[in-house]
Symmetry: C2
Subunit: 357 residues, 2 copies
Amino acid sequence: MDKNVYCVIMAGGGGARLWPKSRWSKPKQFLDIFGTGKSFIRLTYERFAKLVPTENFMVVTNVQYKDMVLEHIPELDESQVLCEPVGRNTAPCICYAAYSLRKRNPEAKMIVTPSDHMIMQEEEFREIISELLDFITGHNVLMTVGLTPSRPETGYGYIQKSDNNKISRVKCFTEKPNLELAQTFVQCGEFFWNSGIFIWKVKDIISAVAKYLPEHHALFSSIDDAYGTMREKEAIEQVFSVCRAISIDYGVMEKADNVYVRCGDFGWSDVGTWGSLYLLAHKDKYANAKPDDRCFTYDTRNCIISLPKEKVAVISGLREFIVVDTEDILMICPRSEEQNIRKYIDEVKFHMGDKHQ
Amino acid sequence: MDKNVYCVIMAGGGGARLWPKSRWSKPKQFLDIFGTGKSFIRLTYERFAKLVPTENFMVVTNVQYKDMVLEHIPELDESQVLCEPVGRNTAPCICYAAYSLRKRNPEAKMIVTPSDHMIMQEEEFREIISELLDFITGHNVLMTVGLTPSRPETGYGYIQKSDNNKISRVKCFTEKPNLELAQTFVQCGEFFWNSGIFIWKVKDIISAVAKYLPEHHALFSSIDDAYGTMREKEAIEQVFSVCRAISIDYGVMEKADNVYVRCGDFGWSDVGTWGSLYLLAHKDKYANAKPDDRCFTYDTRNCIISLPKEKVAVISGLREFIVVDTEDILMICPRSEEQNIRKYIDEVKFHMGDKHQ
């Protein structure tokens, strides 16, 4: 394994996706939603552990999840978990990892990955990552991994490529298009879903941040002598308290002229919605995704049903519903209304306080 | 208070009604379904405690519920709880109470009442009971209390009166008529719902049992010297092991010629179904009966929603549904399908064993 290759796992998500199964107190990356015995973050670690030495992993997360990260990936040393005092979107998260990594190894190559996605065909995926690690050795580029879109999803970002090479320069990014535009994108063949997986040399991403996010560059450079010391925590708290929240896509990738995309097709899903989970799940003959052994359905079709361990359910007369039961929250809503979950979270929070978040 | 008046509370029900809120492990009579702080059996005891001396109460129940009865009515002595080794319907239950009571006080007057009904206007109710206790002093009759039917309920028994006196001889009993017949009954004005509340002298019910259920009479008479002694438990076990299961209505009331009914109108409900509970419950402006403070509904109408303490629910897009969540079972079904609950119980029992009963 190349000792210059590092894997940065972004694990700061706060639990709005797949609510009420995921919560602020236990967000999606720590859930074992398919009952495989392994959480999303654990699977993410194992996926890259065949390419990256254990000591070269870094997990960036909210300080509140530090212990949970170490519990799910006990292979890591405490120093490998970078704690954000508050979430400031992906650009500050990546800056923290990149600037502290530069101090440790200026020749570092970085893989950046979300912690809560699913990849079914890991061998194919790792081949692509290896290929891209080779590619960035000889090219000063910011690589993204794109996915061939299988449906006109309006919740994702799309990447347009500029030519037909396997590794192609990016022409344009489009965040969350409307349905009509998404349909055009899918038909056209030039557009890919943005996986949120990036590969670059640490010096290339820092050059890009310096150019497109100069405030962030100034802030994260200014504490260079604190990285890896006792003063890091305090310095980072100060930086995060003033740095602007912005995504790496919007702040850097959409503006830089050296962004490339490599499209892949390796059974990816962000499992970010109950709808996407429904697509992936095993379904019974009435197209219900449910725990087979303790969920009894009558006249019920095309539903996704999630229950706490050992709970029994009897469900009759539902069509295309999401039923998610947890220890403290029960949610029942039509699959077509899933976009309202954010509203439900806010209403529960408004009336009940933070207890159920 | 008349020292010859006794109140027999029948509390042997096994939890099929209002399932999954009620269970074999905690049947309906022990539930506080309206959140008043008092269970049905507690309310039943308090309702009659203004007419009957504490020491004249008897509760007949399954041996498994003995401790629960004493917990809900701590005023009672252990000897006042008659334990059935197995349920054999109401005739053996009433025989046990009547024959053991005869030994203690041959002049006893008995009020027999279910333990899991609701009565909203207790003063009016007690006036009727007092009037009937007076009436049976001078008449050797079996009194029942009837209710003016408010809807063509097909799940109840109906009593037809033979004249227009306040206390009228019963012409006929009809168990669970079909809808057409029930509609005729309601329109005709001669029919009343059978409340399952009976008032009689102990010697009159025993005469009737001797005549119409001679086997039961022989069995319960044969252990006369065991009542109130150390041998009672063993003797009763033997009697119950051989005696035929039969209801008092079918075994005695439908056959005897000295049955009278006094109709009343005192806010009665057997709360035997989620539908009847829905009728009684406070409803929001969308006609949902639900815990106001922690059940958030959207586009949801005419539903009844029951949640465990402190549980939060978010429910969207349901019409006329029953949603009952408990610690170990979740049930969602259309209100029109409530008659299937018995089937659900059987299926859960078949697959999961008795754990969830």
